[in-house]
């Protein structure tokens, strides 16, 4: 890669970013539109934000979504990390290949099938559909994403670190808790964030597994859009975008700060 700006480079970067961000920018701009008509600009206003907060249905859906995402991401992270550990550590147990395949299958399974099969399961065990069924469904499909993220970190984890911890007096569990977990923690956190966002924007599986009183935000938005797009929806989406952006920026800054601190420490001491 050369660092030179050629016309070709500039054009492709501009086109790429335009393709990615123009729709989002339009959405944000129109969320501040005075007019009820989404495509006609009639001056700046924040009225849709006020309306959005007064829309009880929308707020309920948002609250359900956040609870589902928090619970399912956390449970999926614990289970996914355990699955990753089992896959990496116990390389010789019977049926390992089968287990690996089974953990990864939901990654490539069409969501419609996952949703449908979970629905059938819940119906057949007579489980009332609602908050817990959506949460369970989200745990199931985000677990494998967490497992993949954590596993890729564990493969490069030096097992002798755990041995060293045991050598210095830790039980195997303490060694995991004091050494392995802190070392792989960034991967666990990324796994959690991935699971959280997956749950946040899932529409298909939630539609299959949710019931009355547990409408998630994507479901709500989708059903409203079918009746016509209101600028209210634009406002909700803008807030979602804002939240995601803050999350991404914070994560980046934390990582960067650590790198800067390390560099400082290196300069402070004589080599």
């Amino acid at each position: 890669m050369s660092g030179r700006w050629t016309w070709f480079n500039v054009t492709s970067v501009v086109l790429g970013f335009a393709f990615l961000y123009i729709p989002i920018i339009l959405l944000v701009i129109y969320s501040f539109n005075e007019s009820r008509l989404v495509t006609v600009w009639a001056g700046f206003s924040t009225r849709w934000y006020v309306e959005m907060f007064n829309n009880q249905g929308l707020m309920d859906a948002a609250w359900v979504t956040i609870r589902v995402a928090l619970v399912s991401a956390t449970v999926a992270t614990v289970l996914g990390t355990l699955a990753a550990l089992a896959l990496v550590r116990y390389t010789r147990f019977a049926g390992r290949t089968l287990f690996t395949g089974m953990v990864y299958a939901p990654l490539v399974m069409p969501e419609v099938i996952t949703g449908l099969s979970l629905l059938l399961l819940f119906v057949s065990i007579n489980m009332d559909r609602g908050f817990w069924t959506v949460t369970l469904a989200h745990i199931t499909f985000s677990l494998c994403f967490v497992a993949v993220v954590v596993q890729s970190r564990l493969v490069s984890f030096d097992m002798s670190l755990e041995e060293a911890a045991q050598d210095l007096g830790c039980t195997p569990f303490e060694a995991f808790w004091k050494v392995t977990l802190p070392v792989i923690f960034p991967a666990v956190i990324s796994g959690w964030m991935l699971a959280f966002t997956l749950s946040l924007d899932d529409l298909v599986i939630a539609s299959f597994t949710s019931g009355p009183g547990a409408t998630t935000l994507p479901m709500k938005i989708y059903s409203q859009v079918r009746l016509g797009v209101t600028p209210e929806i634009n406002a909700v989406c803008t807030i979602l975008i804002g939240l995601v952006a803050i999350g991404v920026i914070t994560a980046t800054m934390v990582t960067k700060q650590r790198a800067v601190a390390d560099a400082r420490a290196r300069q402070a001491d004589p080599a």
Partner: protein
């Protein structure tokens, strides 16, 4: 270091039949799949001993240490520590600390926290931990680096942190897997002496793996020379060097000249041998050597005298031509080519080297040695 040397000389528990070994490997075999890494090995190490394992790469040194530390179970045989079998005792319950060949430093902890890890784990009180950490940092000369993370250190510095971390708990038994390999000569020698001091003062038992035979010679009470999962010889540095029991050991430790031949007579421990190089040898034989058998005579280069004049002895003398001279400051190494074509190495201390008329290239010289300077080996 003189006084240390004297203390060490009187320390010979292995010669005392009644002494109980501190570590006993009893017929230990370790297999990985169908590969045998340690083969029916029996070895005893005594309390307060500084014991070195020496051997080529892959001969099973690390495997031995790992079995002692509890990370591998012997396939058969037993390991006793202070008379107790270690079978089934998990690593964290063994009074043993190990320094890993790969260092295994905790990447998320600073140098100081790495060293403090084991101390905190055993519940040592804060002030005492800090004091011990400072002491350890001083030992390995890393005082200014206490707050760095391992990835901000050089290879040699990391090695020193690993060493400090394993020594910090002052375990009764310390296993060091190539603890000084990444250090420069000066730092290595200083650390060697400080380790020996520490071991002496605290009365610890050290088992150390090294590739550096000089290091093994300097530090150890005894050395075990290993080859492909077995111990070929165990002995003090002097025994290993002066009386190797096989050609393998003689060759592994230091330089050696080897002459092959047939034993013609044995009397009173002295054997006569006719070599293929056209001269007779009369030398101390290994017990068990008998007349008529094939044997090898091993002699160290510094035991071979180089003279212009023919020495007045018929045996243990042979003529040759100076092939190469290497001047090493303190000594000079002559490579002398015998008429049979064999090259013999002889080192001469330069205090004895005639400065006015030094022996030069292509000169005819006589090589000679005393009967008790080398050893006749069966294998």
């Amino acid at each position: 270091m003189k006084s240390l040397g004297n203390v060490r000389r009187s320390f010979t528990p292995w010669a005392d039949g009644a002494a109980r070994p501190y570590i006993a490997f009893e017929n230990v075999t370790k297999r990985f799949g169908d590969f045998t890494a340690v083969d029916d090995l029996t070895m005893h190490v005594y309390e307060r001993e500084f014991f070195s394992l020496l051997g080529p790469s892959g001969c099973g040194k690390t495997t031995l240490l790992r079995m002692l530390a509890g990370f591998e179970e012997p396939t058969s045989g037993d390991i006793l520590l202070d008379g107790q079998s270690l079978k089934g005792v998990p690593p964290h319950q063994r009074p043993v600390n190990m320094m890993f060949q790969s260092y295994a430093l905790f990447p998320h902890l600073t140098v100081a926290d790495n060293i403090a890890f084991g101390l905190k784990q055993e519940g040592m009180e804060r002030g005492a931990v800090a004091e011990r950490v400072d002491q350890m940092l001083k030992l390995v000369k890393l005082e200014q680096f206490a707050r760095r993370k391992p990835h901000q250190l050089s290879g040699g510095q990391r090695q020193r942190v690993a060493l400090a971390r394993s020594v910090a708990k002052r375990p009764k038994l310390l296993l060091l897997d190539e603890p000084l390999g990444a250090l420069d000569k000066k730092l290595r020698e200083e650390t060697q002496f400080e380790l020996m001091d520490l071991q002496e003062q605290l009365g610890l038992t050290f088992m150390i793996v090294t590739h550096d035979q000089e290091e093994a010679m300097t530090m150890s009470d005894r050395i075990a020379v290993m080859d492909a999962g077995i111990v070929v010889q165990t002995g003090t540095p002097g025994e290993i060097y002066e009386a190797p029991n096989t050609r393998y050991v003689a060759d592994f430790i230091g330089n050696v000249n080897m002459f092959e031949g047939r034993v013609t007579a044995i009397d009173d421990g002295l054997a006569e041998m006719e070599t293929g190089d056209g001269f007779g040898i009369r030398a101390v034989a290994q017990p068990g050597v008998s007349a008529g058998q094939h044997a090898w005579f091993a002699i160290r280069p510094e035991k071979v005298d180089v003279t212009r004049r023919k020495p007045d002895q018929d045996q243990n003398a042979v003529e040759g031509e100076v092939w190469d001279i290497a001047y090493l400051g303190g000594l000079t190494v002559f490579n002398v080519r015998l008429d049979s074509g064999t090259i013999v190495k002889a080192t001469v201390l330069n205090s004895e080297r005639a400065v006015e008329d030094p022996i030069g290239y292509e000169e005819r010289v006589w090589l000679s040695f005393d009967p008790d300077c080398g050893i006749l080996l069966e294998r």
